[in-house]
Symmetry: C2
Subunit: 431 residues, 2 copies
C-alpha cells in the first residue's frame, strides 16, 4: 500500500518530495471573494444567511453569552476537562519561556537603540467545528495570544445544526482566556474578522486552520490588509529512522498523519531495508484497527518509504523537503537534530510521537506545511507581537554620526534627510 523507493539518485529526489496537492481553484477564489464582499456590504445579515445555508441553522446572536459558556463548560466530560487543563498548562509553560526580553544597546555614546516586543492589540482565531471540533487548536492559539498580552482575542467557530457550539471548544476558550466567542464559521467568519460587522470588530491578524474556503479567505484577507499566521496546506510528517527503531512506532506515526485527510502525506527515510519492509507491513496491520480507513488509505497512497545510504543523505533530504513534522527516531537523534535546517517541529527519539506535540507537551501544533518551513516558523509568541525599535540620540550622539548620515543621504540624492541633521546641529540655541 505504501511504496518503497530504494536509493534514488540525487537528481530524482525532487520527484519524491512532491506534495500530494497544490490545489488552486478559481471557483473557490471567486466564491470566497463574493462572500467577503457580501459580508462587507450586509454585515450580520449576510452572516445569518450563510449560517442558514452552510451550517443549517439560524443564529440570532453570534456572540456566545456568559450563560451559554458556563452551561457548556459544565457538561464537558470530566476526563476531557482534565486533559485540556494539562495541555493548557504545558502550552503556557513553554510559550511563556519564549517571551522576548527588551534589547537595549548603546551603539555609541549618546546613541541609545532599543527593540521592544509589543503585542498585536486585536487578534482573531478560527477553530473548525463540524465532525472534528478542534478544541486543541483553540489552546494552541489563544494561550500564546494571552501570554503575549493581546488585548482582544476573539474566536470564530461554526455552530452545529442545533445552533450551539461544541462544549469542549467553549471550555478550551474559557481556559485559554478568549475574550469573545462568535458562532460563525467558514469563509464568512474570516470575512467578518477582516471587514467587521455590527457584531464582530475587524482584527489585525487572523490565525487558525480550516478547509479550502477558510484558507482562501485568509489569503484574500491578507490582500485586504489583515495579517495571517501562515499559508496553510495539507498536513505532513517525515520520519527518519535507523535499524533500532520499532516498526510499529513508525507505522503508528504514519497512520496519525494519514487520518488527517486524503491529501496528508507521510514519508519515512531510513538506511535500514528491514525496517522499511516491516513498517509497510505494520501500517497494513494497524490500519485494520482504525475507524477512518478509507481516508487513511487515500493518504497512504501518496506516502512513501525511501531508502537512503547514510545519515547525511537523510538529513539533506529532510532539509530539502522541509517537513511540517519531523520525527527523528534514531539512536543519534540529538546529533541529527543539530543538522535540522528546515522543519516546523522536530520530535526526537522513540517516545516522542507527533501526537505529543499535537496536544499536550507544550509546543505549538500550528506549523508551516508544503515546504514553507524553509522560510516560516510555526506559531509562537513572536506571531502575536511586533518588534518595534526605539532610539534616542543626544545632541553629541547625533553629531558623532552626522558625517555618516549626511554623506550617505547626499550620496542617495536625499538632501532633506541631510538637512534634518544640519538644522539640529547648526542651531546655536540648542547647543
Amino acid at each position: 500500500m505504501v511504496e518503497i523507493i530504494k536509493y534514488p539518485q540525487r537528481a530524482a529526489w525532487p520527484q519524491y518530495m512532491k506534495r500530494t496537492d497544490g490545489s488552486d481553484d478559481a471557483a473557490v477564489r471567486s466564491s470566497v471573494a463574493r462572500i467577503i464582499d457580501d459580508v462587507e456590504r450586509r454585515g450580520d445579515d449576510a452572516l445569518r444567511d450563510y449560517s442558514v445555508q452552510f451550517d443549517g441553522c439560524r443564529i440570532d446572536t453570534f456572540r456566545v453569552g456568559d450563560d451559554e459558556m458556563n452551561a457548556a463548560c459544565l457538561i464537558v466530560d470530566y476526563n476531557l476537562k482534565q486533559a485540556i487543563n494539562v495541555a493548557a498548562a504545558n502550552i503556557h509553560k513553554f510559550h511563556a519561556a519564549e517571551l522576548p526580553g527588551e534589547v537595549a544597546v548603546e551603539v555609541a555614546p549618546g546613541i541609545d537603540c532599543r527593540q521592544r516586543a509589543v503585542p498585536i492589540s486585536r487578534v482573531g482565531l478560527y477553530a473548525p467545528g463540524g465532525n472534528s471540533p478542534l478544541f486543541s487548536t483553540v489552546l494552541m492559539l489563544a494561550v500564546p495570544a494571552r501570554i503575549s498580552g493581546c488585548r482582544e482575542v476573539v474566536l470564530c467557530t461554526p455552530p452545529r445544526r442545533d445552533g450551539t457550539v461544541d462544549p469542549a471548544i467553549l471550555y478550551a476558550a474559557q481556559v485559554a482566556g478568549v475574550s469573545d466567542v462568535f458562532k460563525v464559521g467558514g469563509a464568512q467568519a474570516i470575512a467578518a474578522m477582516t471587514v467587521g460587522t455590527e457584531s464582530i470588530k475587524p482584527v489585525y491578524k487572523i490565525f487558525g486552520p480550516g478547509n479550502r474556503y477558510v484558507t482562501e479567505a485568509k489569503l484574500q484577507a491578507n490582500m485586504r490588509g489583515v495579517a495571517i499566521d501562515m499559508p496553510a496546506g495539507p498536513s505532513e510528517v517525515m520520519v527518519i529512522a535507523d535499524g533500532q527503531a520499532d516498526a510499529t512506532f513508525v507505522a503508528s506515526d504514519f497512520l496519525s498523519q494519514a487520518e488527517h485527510g486524503a491529501d496528508s502525506q507521510s514519508i519515512l527515510l531510513t538506511t535500514d531495508e528491514g525496517l522499511a519492509h516491516a513498517v509497510v507491513q505494520s501500517v497494513a496491520g494497524l490500519l485494520e484497527l482504525l475507524p477512518r480507513q478509507q481516508l487513511a488509505m487515500q493518504s497512504l497512497a501518496g506516502s512513501r518509504v525511501i531508502l537512503l545510504h547514510d545519515d547525511d543523505e537523510m538529513m539533506q533530504f529532510a532539509n530539502m523537503y522541509a517537513p511540517e513534522h519531523l520525527i527523528i527516531n534514531h539512536a543519534d537523534a540529538e546529533r541529527l537534530a543539530l543538522k535540522v535546517e528546515s522543519a516546523g517541529s522536530v520530535f526526537l527519539g522513540a517516545f516522542s510521537p507527533e501526537s505529543a506535540g499535537d496536544y499536550a507537551s507544550g509546543t505549538n501544533h500550528t506549523l508551516p506545511t508544503g515546504g514553507w518551513a524553509r522560510s516560516y516558523s510555526g506559531v509562537n509568541i513572536d506571531s502575536f507581537m511586533k518588534k518595534i525599535t526605539f532610539q534616542r540620540l543626544s545632541r553629541s550622539g547625533l553629531a558623532s554620526i552626522a558625517p555618516a548620515i549626511t554623506t550617505m543621504a547626499r550620496g542617495e540624492g536625499l538632501y532633506a534627510h541631510s538637512l534634518a541633521v544640519e538644522v539640529r546641529l547648526n542651531n546655536d540655541k540648542n547647543s
Copy 2:
C-alpha cells in the same frame, strides 16, 4: 501648503488617517505575471531581453565578477566609504544584540521542549538603482542576514545604462558580506529569485523595496511559495510634538519624508497651535533650499498638521494610524514611548531625526507602511530565521501526559493519534 486640522471629532479621525494611495492596478498585475512566466520559461534569455528593454543595456554575465567588484570599491569616494563603514558597524552592533537565544524548558519530568532559531539558508535581497542607488538598503538587509547565519545572501540590483552597477552599492555589498551580486533589476529580478534561471538560483525569502512592479512581483512570488519581508507601500512619518519642539526640526522631518516621493505622507500631531503654524511656515521656507521641490510639494499636499487636546489623544491617534516612522519630539518622550502600540520605528526627543535611523544609528530602516505596523515588525534578525521547536520525551515523560493526549485525540476523532501513544507504552520490550 500643508493643511492644519483643528481638534477633529473622534468620529472624523479615520478620514485624516487615510493614506495617499492604495493603487491596485490590473495592468501592473498582469504585466508582472507575464514577466514571471517568461523568466520561468526562458531563464537568462528572458532576463537579457528585459535588460535591453528596461535598463537600456545588454548584459552577458549577470553575476558581478571579482575584478569588477574590486575595481568598483576602489573608486568609491573615501568619505562615502567611511560613512558606509560607520553605518555598517552600528547596524551590526544593534542587530547582533537581537540574536535570540535557545529556549529550553523541562515542561514536566521527562518532557524536554526547546525552541531554536535557525537561519533561512538562502535569501534574496533587492536594491533599487537608477537615480537613487539605495546602498543604505544593502546594509540594512545584508548585515542582519549575515548575522543570522544565512548561508547564501544574493543581491539583485539593476545595471546602469553602461552595464555597470553603482559602485557604492557594490562597496556596501562587499562590506556587508553579500555572496553574489547580480545585475538584474525590476520585476524580472524578483522573478529570477523566485523561479530560478541558469545564473540565479531560487531563494526562500525575498527582501527589499522597489517600485510598483517590484512590489507586485514580490506579492506574486509569495503566491508561488517564496516568503517576502513585508507588503511595501509609500513611506510615511508621524511627528508628535509639544510646545517645546523647534518648528524647524519638525519641518525638516516633514521634508525628509516628502522628498521620498509624491505619495509619501507626513503628519504632525500637536497640542500647540503656535507650533502648528510655525511648522507650516518653516516647511515653506526650507522647501526653497531643496532640489526635489516638485516631488516634495506633491507629497506635502497629502500631508497634515492635526491639533489635538492632550497627550493621550495624540497617542491614541498615533496607534490607530500605525505610522512607519514615529518621531516623538516632546518633553515627555520616554513616557509616551511606553504607550506606543503600533509603529515601525520610534525616534525620541529633539535630536533623533528619522534620517539617523535611515542610515547610521543601527536600527533597521525596512519598516511596515500603510498601517501594517499594527501587525508586522520591521526587518530584524527574526526576519532571517525560523524558530523551530524540538521535543524529546522519555518513556515515563510520555506516560505522564498519555491520558491527556489520548483523551483529547479521541475527543477530536483522531484515533491513530491516540494509537501512536498506546503502541509506545503498551509494548513490554521497551519498558
